[in-house]
Amino acid sequence: MDINTEKPHIIADKREGMEERIAIARLKKGDLSGLDELVKRYQVKAVQSAYLITLDRSLAEDIVQESFIHAFDKLSQFDDSRPFGPWFYRSVANLALKAMRHQHKFVPIDPVNNECQEAILARWIERPAGVEAVLENKEAQQEIWQAICRLPVDQRAVIVMRYYQGLNEHEMIVETGRPASTIKWWLHEARTQLRRWLGVDSYGPGNKRL
């Protein structure tokens, strides 16, 4: 098909895909300008997802940098015909999870991070609202955040992998090395907790099932 007859967003996707393949090809030859292209393209979602798991921005950036090094080392194993993003995000999530397991003895007490307080969550539960309302309401967003950071790290990680990074259960099993039953249990528990804390467990008007 003539590319000029395609819709603009399809053309843009194809162009981006081509640029990504060129960047990867350059990187495979040892040209680090290819790396810069990939970092620019994937750093935001990677850092944000690492942050959602670690709740530590500095650590999140460390993890993403380390993930790029891992990716660089394993680039020869990467299938050029597939998109780089999902392959890379899985590595980010896995490293973030590992980092948190090693960091369990250090308790974040940062004023920003330790606002996962029962009182705020309780208030949310008492005043349930629809997802759309949450998306438009900054106070609601803050309270959603408190709920997420209250989740145990394993459950938070699978939520991020599943919903933020878009991994399927099989990819999560491969990446975490955990049995399917564990992954399923973590997902189930996380969803149940969030529904309960956020008061969106009901199927009232404006609510969608998580």
Partner: protein
């Protein structure tokens, strides 16, 4: 998965809220980190290559042409640095304890001195022929043959494992050098910029590599210039590694790539060369014939000096002697003029309008009046000794005997002392009065220097790493001693300094010293509990209009008084570290003992710091600590932290009495210890000097906490993950101090 899944939307919203996309930029830090990662990987690969190389060479041998081809393919003569810009290496004023800080170290340990300096001269003044060098080394020496017109051998020098042959070309100030060393596969490839083109060339039967360009220092960085007039050719042939380099200072080098390859392809055995005098110089017989009278030669000359011909002008004659290392500044020149008319010694101001000359009478045997005139500074070398106008001198001794006036123009006093010049003069008069006198300008230990003064001399127990005591100069008439210290071959910071010690009247203050020209910048400074001052002498090629580009600060003086003695440490050091070094050396001064040593046990680093230092003997893997370093100006102690097996700095731990002010909002805070409730704060760091470490963080973090009344700052330029920073901090904060 449904793109509109509410949880996905929620996560996207809160992620953007907590870490806005516009504030995420890890491109540079990731690039830097992966470059460092690649460098470490390259080291591992090099080690593997070396192993492979050994096996291949043992199997095939290098004597065969086949083996040579394989060898040159395995060998990497140049390696791309991966960038065209490098940060200038951070100078490291690392002070270390000295076991024998006050005894002269053999001169062969000085920086940049070839082992064959006494036979063949320095790298700046090579004097041997390739044939002479061949007698000194065990590998076959080759020289350039079939030289194009205008290219001549200047001289050769070196050591048992590496020699250099230097050539002059038709272009003024062009530098052509052939380096030869037995081929060892450990020899590292030369790093070039990523913009360099490494060309494989055929050099006779061997394959070599050619690169044009050079790293050039700018104010803060070193930049690779591929258009710089530096051409380097490297190859291996018959077990010898060769480098032919041509450095040209104007835009038209006399030789191009093809010329260099042609020269390299035509190496030959050294040809026998007759002893030759420099152009225009006469033998003794020729000079006497021209003068029509006999020349008086000294009965003995200083050790290592060699006859270098005579020049004749208007009935006067000058005898020239080459210094042991061949450097022109070290040369000796003796002018003989018939008659004993009055003599005036001029001042040579060609190099500096501020030049001067100080003079004194010194006793000499066999001369009229029994004294000569000794001068030091910038004496104007007589025309008979300076036919080309290029000869410079720093000392002069004038005397008259047997109806003849003599002027001996000598090198700096550090090379030939006043007493040595007097002995040379008396070898001309034939009356020796200075035979067994101790030479106060060439004292080889501080204990010997103590004998010349009546107050207790102090010597430093801390010196910059790689530095040594060189010698001492005493002036018994003034009751003063100057100790000389110089950088050795493995010094981290190059330069030299002196420590002048002399009694002063009790009512004289530090600032009552003469102010030379140019006027220095003066800063008050505490040396321990004593008031002192730090003077910085700068000059500018732009006159009064000093800018960063034209200013040159070349001398610093730290002065203070203590117990009736005035101390001045004067140094020529890189300006960024001079004050730090001088203060550290000053604080470490202790009395010299009779055996020339001093008691360093009473003066360890932690006493100088004023508080116990954290023990970092067993850091959690993969980290290890470098040596302790005290920054005297900020009373802080620094430990550099490395990743095991890597040389690059991963971070710094700084201990101090005073915490750094929180100049920005912390990123996070952590509990380091559940028992002690030690709270650590994580700060972002951007373009910050790490106090006391000589390092700088462009982008990174600082983890800071207080424990045991001390402030701790753990700096990292993104090389240490936060989790590891916390592990390191916990290790430090839970260990008892001073272990």
């Amino acid at each position: 998965m449904d793109e509109n899944n509410p949880l996905k939307l929620l996560l996207e919203v809160v992620a953007e809220r907590q870490v806005p996309a516009e504030r995420i930029d890890i491109v540079t830090s990731t690039h830097r980190r992966i470059t460092s990662h690649l460098a470490a990987r390259r080291k591992r690969r090099t080690a593997i290559l070396v192993t492979i190389g050994i096996v291949v060479f043992l199997t095939l041998g290098l004597a065969t042409p086949q083996g040579q081809v394989i060898a040159s393919r395995l060998f990497q003569f140049f390696i791309s640095k991966g960038t065209n810009v490098q940060a200038l290496p951070t100078l490291n004023p690392h002070l270390v304890e000295m076991s024998s800080p006050a005894v002269t170290v053999p001169a062969t340990q000085a920086a940049g001195v070839p082992p064959f300096v006494h036979q063949c001269g320095s790298y700046a003044g090579p004097v041997c022929s390739p044939e002479q060098l061949q007698a000194l080394v065990t590998f076959p020496v080759k020289e350039l043959t079939n030289l194009p017109s205008g290219i001549q051998l200047r001289g050769a020098t070196g050591g048992p494992n590496l020699i250099t042959l230097q050539y002059t070309t038709t272009v003024d100030q062009e530098f052509l050098q052939l380096v030869e060393t037995p081929w060892t596969i450990q020899l590292p490839p030369l790093e070039v910029g990523s913009g360099a083109t490494i060309e494989v060339v055929q050099v006779g039967a061997a394959q070599g590599e050619y690169v044009r360009g050079a790293w050039i220092n700018h104010s803060n960085v070193i930049v690779w210039h591929s258009d710089a007039n530096t051409q380097t050719l490297r190859w291996v042939d018959e077990d010898v590694y060769y480098q032919l380099i041509l450095i040209s200072h104007d835009g038209h080098p006399s030789l191009n790539q093809q010329d260099l390859v042609r020269l390299a392809s035509n190496l030959g055995e050294p040809a026998a060369q007759p002893d030759q005098l420099p152009g225009g110089r006469l033998t003794r017989e020729e000079a006497e014939q021209k003068l029509g009278r006999a020349i008086l030669l000294p009965a003995s000359i200083p050790d290592g000096y060699q006859w270098n011909g005579a020049t004749v002008l208007n009935g006067d004659v000058c005898l020239h002697y080459r210094s042991p290392n061949g450097d022109p500044i070290g040369g000796l020149h003796i002018a003989e003029r018939a008659g004993t008319s009055s003599v005036s010694i001029g001042v040579d101001r060609t190099l500096s309008p501020l030049a001067g000359l100080e003079k004194e009478f010194i006793p000499l045997g066999g001369v009229g009046g029994a004294v000569g005139v000794y001068g030091w500074g910038s004496p104007l070398v007589s025309a008979v000794c300076n036919p080309d106008g290029e000869t410079r001198s720093q000392t002069v001794l004038v005397f008259q005997t047997k109806g003849t006036t003599f002027e001996i123009f000598g090198p700096p006093v550090e090379i030939l002392t006043r007493l040595e010049l007097a002995r040379l003069a008396e070898s001309l008069t034939g009356v020796q009065t200075t035979g067994n006198t101790d030479d106060p300008q060439k004292i080889t230990s501080a204990a010997d220097a103590q004998r010349f003064v009546d107050f207790p001399l102090l010597v430093p127990t801390l010196l910059p790493k790689g530095w040594n005591f060189h010698h001492a100069v005493a002036d018994p008439a003034k009751n003063q001693v100057t100790l000389y210290y110089k950088a050795g071959q493995d010094a981290e910071v190059y330069g030299a300094f002196t420590i002048l010690q002399r009694p002063v009247p009790a009512d004289m203050t530090v600032s009552q010293s003469a102010t030379p020209d140019p006027a220095p910048t003066v800063q008050p400074l505490k040396v321990g509990s004593m008031d002192g001052e730090y003077r910085l002498y700068c000059s500018s090629t732009g006159g009064q209009n000093m800018t960063q580009e034209n200013i040159d600060c070349s001398a610093e003086v730290l002065t203070w008084q203590q117990n009736g003695v005035r101390y001045s440490i004067e140094a020529g050091l890189p300006i960024s570290v001079a004050r730090e070094i001088l203060t550290g050396v000053a604080l470490s001064l202790t009395p010299v003992l009779s055996d020339g040593t001093n008691s360093i046990a009473n003066n360890p680093l932690h006493l100088l710091a004023g508080y116990p230092l954290a023990s970092l003997a067993q850091l959690p893997a993969p980290y290890e600590a470098g040596e302790e370093r005290i920054a005297f100006s900020t009373s802080s102690a620094c430990r550099t932290i490395f990743r095991s097996g890597e040389q690059s700095v991963a971070g710094y731990l700084v201990q101090s009495l005073s915490p750094l002010s929180p100049d920005t909002k912390p990123l996070a805070s952590y509990e380091l210890s559940s028992n002690d409730q030690v709270k650590a704060l994580l700060f972002p760091v951007h373009q910050q000097e790490v106090r006391g470490c000589g390092g700088r963080i462009e982008d990174g973090v600082r983890l800071s906490w207080m424990a045991n009344g001390l402030s701790y700052d753990l700096f990292s330029a993104s090389s240490i993950p936060t989790n590891d920073l916390l592990r390191l901090a916990q290790e430090v904060s839970t260990k008892p101090l001073g272990d």
